[in-house]
Amino acid sequence: MDTQQAAPRAAPVTIDWRQIAGLVLLSLKIFLLRFLTLGIYHFWGKTEVRRKIWSAVHLQNQPLEYTGTGKELLLGFLIVTFLIIIPIYVAFVGISLYFGEGHPATVAVQLILGFAIVFLIGMAQYRARRYRLSRTNWRGIRGGMSGSALRYAWTSVWTVLLIPLTLGWIVPWRSVTLQRILTNETRFGQMPMRFEGDSGPLYLPFLGYWLGFIGVYGLAAMLLYQLLGEYTFFQTLDPAPASAPPSLQTIGIAVFIVLSALLILSIISAWYTARLYNHFAASTHIDHARFHLTATPLSLIGLTIGNFLLSLLTFGIATPIVQTRLARYFVTRLNIEGMIDFDQIAQSQASLSRTGEGLAEAFDVDAF
């Protein structure tokens, strides 16, 4: 008893994934019930899947718990649909009916609504994260977000405007800035996470990504133009082009060029994305510990293609399996280095909202 008390209180941390059973049956059940309940079961099904995924993640051999409910998700969805989505839709349609398409007033209002949507997507990402963290328990201690969704959404909007102006070069800085806000405002109980790092180390990989992208894109466009000439771009305005249409063989070569370009681009993109995720993890600290992720380009591509095919071939019925695979990928490749003093992590004092992440659902920015 006494020796137990005297032992060093900070402990090394283990995080692992324990396989979950019954996902195929769960997928079928959710599909069937959604059908029978005119779609309403969607929110309860989502909750069931999250409970499974959360319970597979073990910290110190004790699982996470997901305490959200289907009712919260449904309420969030209804509120967002009726207070945000439908008014925006009506404004969008109404303005062009009233002034006519192409009228300056129509263009102005639709531009403003466009930015409002980018802003709302930022809000949605932040609020969804807050909701999920507040419904995540470990040893009874809740997570949370301490800041404001408005600041995050605003940062997301003005940095998005700079992407074309900087020819994309703001992208690494933007990702890190947004991730820094999310990480620094994340709480486990009352213990904050810290983002310690900047976008510097990402710029060399980004140079490769940027040059590779331009190079492959340019080369593919050049080859296609050589091959197809004026057919490269769809000429809807001129129904009768001068030369004869391309032969089947030429079309075959063109398709091959496009597919190879897409393959190379996705490898380049995965290579950068893996660096980005690993950098995010390495910059994330809590107490005396930091995260370490080993995402690799090839495994990321495999995961993405596998999940894409799984969704496509099952018409979305396998979504629970897709989401589980995604979560498993990150958890099995994640390590926590250093020590955490769990006795010092006090329960969160934040109050719990009554509604779920409707906004994220509406804009389809929720991964799980």
Binding site: Q62, G70, G100, G140, I141
Partner: protein, 371 residues
């Protein structure tokens, strides 16, 4: 670890105030779980009825329990045998109980949604019609212009002066019975199919082929009066609002982008008015024809001819007196089904002292409107 009298399990306990965990021994007692931090401890009792679990308990899997009156307190037992034992004592944590809990709100929501759909269908409520009725005239006109523009792009507009004058005379006869405040505009367009339709904003488009298909000015007057009837009832506006609403609904439910303004024209062509809407338009048409002293018989015959074209099947054996090939007529038939009830209703109407709409030369000019 297991004794004969009390079966005991190893687990960890957290108090919900910090993330610390203590190793504990858990025993099943009559009215609850006894949790001891040391052998000497007399233990804390967690009554079975107060136990909570985030997920329903599955025998063979690890168990994590909470307690109703202690927020965040947790008991974690990795031993799969524990779940099997506890489910018997705390049946409210079983999969079966969870199912029952979810079933109630699920049934309630499903019944509410199904009830709403049934009510709309049964009482013939039309939210789309209510919204269409609220559209300001300016918006209806804009919408109409948009549709007309899309429909007539690259199509020939028929405006031979003599034909136009005859058409204006025909419409003038009908206008006498249209309530004040309506400004219907009619346009003849070479659409390539036999058809006539009303767009929002009180625009009516009649195809040159339809004029060729009619055999008398009275038939044409009937068709135009019918389309004016649709316009008076705001059927085109209602159809577009409904389609946009369904599009928005699908977009919200399924994600992705369904339908856009570019499709409006095509949308209107595909609109199938309900039987009720067709009957409403017919009633207006009959009223208009009666007030204008135009014979109704030809209008009924028009539908009879459509009907017989349909039953005569493919184009090869088609009656040569009818200029339009049947496949061009099918489009009109699809959007305006020539049912027996319609023909009967129109035929039953008596018109007092009918007067001809156009004389022979005017009618010839009108038939030549497309040049």
């Amino acid at each position: 670890m297991r004794s004969n009298s009390f079966e005991s399990f190893r687990g960890t306990w957290s108090d919900g105030r910090t993330a610390a965990a203590l190793n504990v021994t858990i025993r099943f007692e009559d009215n609850g779980l006894n949790i001891r931090k040391t052998e000497a401890d007399i233990g804390e009792l967690w009554p079975y009825g107060d136990l909570t679990s985030v997920s329903p308990l599955t025998p063979g899997r690890a168990t994590q329990l909470g307690r109703q009156d202690q927020v965040g307190a947790r008991l974690f037992i990795d031993d799969g045998g524990f779940a099997e034992k506890i489910v018997g004592r705390a049946p409210h944590l079983s999969t079966h109980a969870e199912r029952k809990r979810v079933l109630a709100p699920m049934l309630a929501f499903t019944v509410i949604v199904a009830g709403m759909i049934a009510a709309i269908w049964y009482f013939e409520l039309s939210p789309a019609r209510a919204i269409a009725g609220l559209l300001p005239d300016k918006a209806r006109t804009q919408l109409g212009d948009l549709v007309v523009e899309k429909m007539t792009a690259n199509k020939k507009i028929c405006e031979a002066p003599a034909g136009r004058a005859a058409l204006d005379k025909l419409v003038g006869r009908l206008k006498a019975s249209i309530p004040e405040g309506h400004r219907f505009q009619l346009r003849v367009v070479d659409l390539g199919i036999v058809n006539a339709f009303a767009t929002p904003g009180e625009r009516i488009i009649v195809s040159g082929e339809l004029i060729g298909f009619t055999t008398s000015p009275e038939e044409l007057a009937g068709v135009i009066a019918h389309e004016i009837g649709h316009g008076l009832e705001r059927h085109p506006e209602t159809g577009i609002v409904r389609a946009l609403g369904i599009g928005a609904g699908l977009e919200i439910l399924l994600g992705g982008s369904a339908g856009s303004f570019g499709e409006l024209g095509a949308l209107l062509l595909q609109l199938n008015y309900s039987r009720k809407a067709e009957a409403e338009a017919d009633r207006h048409a009959i009223d208009m024809l009666q007030t204008a002293n135009i014979s109704v018989r030809p209008f009924a015959r028009f539908f009879e001819r459509l009907q017989s074209r349909k039953s005569s099947g493919s184009g090869k054996n088609a009656n040569k007196s009818i200029t339009a090939p049947p496949n061009k007529v099918m489009e009109l038939l699809r959007s305006h089904p020539a049912t027996a009830e319609r023909i009967a209703m129109i035929s039953a109407t008596k018109v007092v002292a009918p007067r001809p709409v156009l004389n022979a030369s005017e009618w010839a000019a009108l038939r030549d409107i497309c040049g």
